[in-house]
Symmetry: D2
Subunit: 282 residues, 4 copies
């Protein structure tokens, strides 16, 4: 086997728990002469669900590998084989630059294995920043449109780029269920709060009024309900009485961008599994 | 002035903001030949309120000092002079030992300048632990009593010990407004969550169901509304998908006891000011 | 198979990395009709070493299970089968109570699956605390003894209790290499600093002089060199200019006890693997 | 007094501690009809030193204000009056983009009240990034030069821009004492470690070899000795056995940029006082 032909892929398995699953899956890999670079699994005993992420190296025959796995796995199994490649994303923004800026920097200078195919904004504000990085910025204004019309326009633009993920980097409008269903488990949002606290508008003002001593941010998948999707990553910082709502907002921006980029790092490495309203990160 | 006669006291001032306040107060201290060991102040520009904590050393004539301060301060000022002594507390518990155990250890072996006058429980569970530390444990059972009757019985026991503060160290019953009003700004609770999330019962199960990636605890003053008093201290720890609700509970216990004891440390040092629903910690 | 006969054990494997290891090991478990409750593995590609922790449930025939594993594993493999039982420890102390108190509380009231067989001190200071919890305290004074003699006396006392681990809960003397070699990978220390900073005496004073903004603690195995063993757990807290060395020490105590107890939790669950000077926690 | 003429300035006082200092200083401000927006002070009782930061609003007559303060303060006092304006910095870089990128973003899009006058690099690597933000990038190559010659060339370039501060944003060369002395208490460095651990080269590899469970970063003033200046800010993140040295480096970059930008925020607000080898942040 020549070194130069070796490929890396990630096998992801979700199935009903059963005895011998790890042996069955790794036996198949062994038979295909694939090296297991890293393997992580988790059994959720409450729901009787088995999750496994297997990072493989070797020469892949995807078709026979998947067929062999289908033969080894129980009914109702999901298995996916992903190339360990750079992923494509489209980023949605409104007016705030901090999360977008961090993603632009990391895409170009390292830290995230991601290609930003395009940035879509409902305002012109961030065009200059995006164009500085020689990337396309597309304005999809919501002016004079219903929410459905606007989301339709956005979806049309996004689908043109065939992204693996859609990142809401401080996109400040609520998305329609229809839009969300077009990108199942592909939309990732950064919420300016540690959910489930302070859902909705002006969370830093809510936090200030409540006199909290910590503020945070939550990165999560977007499903039908606003701010209710499966949580990927959360973090907080400490604040004190001297912080105004504006100070909290400024300090919170760093948490937001850090949490979004750390969440995205795990998603891009195919480590995040969604099951029900929870995530398993392997 | 002889070293041995020197006393330490903490002067706390809350008043409407006005020009020259710091000068006026420190001038009075200067005139009384009191050394300022530490001085911290804060102006809340939103409410136009001035807060100052002044740690003083010298020979005190409390009466003339307070009279001079009254002459120097504007209408509507509150000023308090506290001896920098050990404080007395009564602790309320139900069945969980971890917060109580930490307070018992720190009261006896250092870490908190506090005398535990008594521990009051609505169950017998923790009597043995308290008596190991040679402190009185008083059972005030709620069996067969209305909430009002039970709280009355408790208040009667507590008042016998004349505590400076009443600490709810995992006391798991809701207190009546009448009880709360008997100890204004004197009741401190540890809430097994980072407020305002997961108010009410079984917060760790709520947190598990929501799939959160951080859990926390909040120490706060108790006012009329359950879990709604001014927050003193909060902290969190990171959890992941492998945590069951029980694991979260176990890990959360350390956060709870740490947050309660850190909050109490600030309260005992007369550093915590309550204004509206917020605290200022100087 | 009757539910009541089921046992839980932890299988730990360390061996040279090779293709198909996970399959081989889990195939053996499968053949023995053992359920894998949890499985975690890690390959250190730098050293070519494979580590796996397998939590098993079923009816165990230890002898044939281990023989089957030996047949399946490559030369130079280490595999251990541990009952998932309560572990016994002996705790060594000097004068400080905070780590000991936390362990006493958690052993008795939950949080650590550990039986404290005895506490050994080189001073009488903590006898009262230990006896409050109805546990044996043994004074092994170092007065008038060489370090070797003292350590010999201690080892003799400790070995009488046949502990699984020896916990240094702020034991403030350096141990002889001879003592350390009698308890290989069984001695766990809490160091009042985040190693490798501030090795040696008075670390909080060193930290104060250096003007650091964070202080921390490190739990580690003890090997020949003071403060140089494999690190299990570390944590820090933020401090500022207002902290004296004594304030740092007081605040540091909570970090120390938290880190020690979290490290011990992982060790007791058979999750910590030592390899060279590093730990792998599965 | 007309609203539109009001100015904001920050008065910073360092002097030997003495009774009545706060009164004396605030009396002077009061006499000048200046509003105290915020006042913070600290007495270091070990060195007998008094530090005060006073944020003032009003109409300033700098000359008489400073003269009045000189009359009120003891011998050996330092007092400075700074306009609360945007500050100018020159940034020094080598090849790594992450800290520079964060500063560029925050200077242009908010988060730091700073004007980046120029970026000086000893490699061309980051020219494109700087020019994207329409700022001057100046290459000062060290090729074929002694350290003294190179530092002289850099100092000449830097002084042309008359910066308030010189930021080492991952500038990877050691500076000469001569260079450092030209910018006293004006050079701020981000060190890729939590000092005092892992001084010197390749700290992430040192950290990996030592098997640490936390890695961090330190922002500090630069004085004569490498990595030994007064610490302004530190933070850490948790890592585990699965991190290679490269993973630590990647994760560490976010800590580095966060710590540098938070330190700079405090410095720009004139909150950081240097005394000996420690900082006081008011």
């Amino acid at each position: 086997m020549q070194q130069q032909n070796l490929q890396r892929k990630v096998l992801r398995t979700i199935c009903p728990d059963a005895r011998g699953l790890i042996a069955r899956i790794t036996n198949v890999c062994f038979k295909h002469e694939l090296n297991i670079i890293q393997n992580n699994e988790f059994v959720d005993h409450r729901t009787g669900r088995f999750f496994m992420r297997t990072e493989l190296e070797g020469i892949f025959n995807d078709k026979t590998l998947l067929a062999d796995l289908d033969g080894a796995l129980p009914e109702g199994s999901v298995r996916e084989l992903h190339p360990a490649d750079r992923r494509r994303v489209v980023i949605l923004v409104t007016k705030e630059a901090h999360c977008l800026g961090d993603l632009l920097m990391k895409s170009e200078y390292g830290g995230l294995n991601v290609e930003i195919a395009a940035v879509v904004g409902n305002h012109e504000t961030l065009r200059a920043l995006v164009e500085r990085f020689d990337l396309p910025f597309i304005l999809v204004s919501h002016e004079g449109l219903t929410r459905e019309q606007h989301d339709n326009n956005m979806a049309a633009v996004i689908e043109r780029y065939e992204p693996d993920y859609v990142i809401l980097a401080k996109y400040m409008r609520v998305l329609t269920p229809d839009f969300v269903q077009r990108f199942p488990n592909k939309i990732i949002n950064i919420h300016h709060s540690f959910l489930p606290a302070f859902i909705g508008a002006r969370p830093y003002h809510q936090a200030y009024e409540r006199g909290v001593k910590i503020i945070g941010a939550t990165a999560h998948y977007v499903n039908d309900n606003l701010d209710e999707g499966p949580i990927i990553m959360q973090d907080v910082i400490h604040v004190d009485h001297s912080y105004s709502a504006e100070d909290m907002m400024r300090a919170g921006r760093d948490v937001e961008k850090n949490v979004l980029s750390r969440a995205l790092y795990q998603v891009l490495a195919q480590r995040v599994f969604v099951y029900g309203n929870r995530t398993i990160i392997l």
